[in-house]
Symmetry: C2
Amino acid sequence: MSNLVDLETVAPFDVWGEAVRARRIEGEQVTFAVVELAPNATIPEHRHPQEQLGMVITGTMRFRIDNEVRELGPGGTWRILSNRPHEATAGPDGAVVIDAFSPIRSDWNFELLEPRPTVWPVDNEGDAR
Amino acid sequence: MSNLVDLETVAPFDVWGEAVRARRIEGEQVTFAVVELAPNATIPEHRHPQEQLGMVITGTMRFRIDNEVRELGPGGTWRILSNRPHEATAGPDGAVVIDAFSPIRSDWNFELLEPRPTVWPVDNEGDAR
């Protein structure tokens, strides 16, 4: 198995319906996920034992952890300790975000979909990719 | 302490001289770092007990893990298990990358610098931030 892979070659899966689609790179201690959220996609309040740190890459998100709420754009980050309740809603243009979990998301047994183009990065001919 | 912060408000520090500058969000199990590499910046071969998964956001990187070498652009990922030797060199335009480590980088006792604008995201007036 290669340890250096392009995100676009990774099979996606639907985490919260098709409005919240992810790809993941998994280690032994970390699940690294890139998540594409459709416009106004909602992730209802939930919690999990895995710690979750992440950041917006493109678009906007409204995020709540416990009683703290913020609107986040690119570079906006979250830090969700184990079992803290959190929820999120994508803005009107959707969002692409990174999430790093530890321990790994061994509970993520979603059906893998066919590889398809990523929302981010956009594949423009002649770019650095 | 807020658990929802903008990257540009986080104090940076130099990891491998000023050509490799990082900001970090730290949990109890994960260190989430955003690293800015100057053009052609080199990270010499090293290894650490922390697992390290990451991805290029902007720019290009030449990455080696054990005997595997690849050129990576945006969306290019790495998966470095505990204590695996790795090295990297930024391309001619530099790079901004994400790194997620677990356990946390408790060995990172670098001097914190004053907050300053991020290379990515670029702060354009009127944008989503």
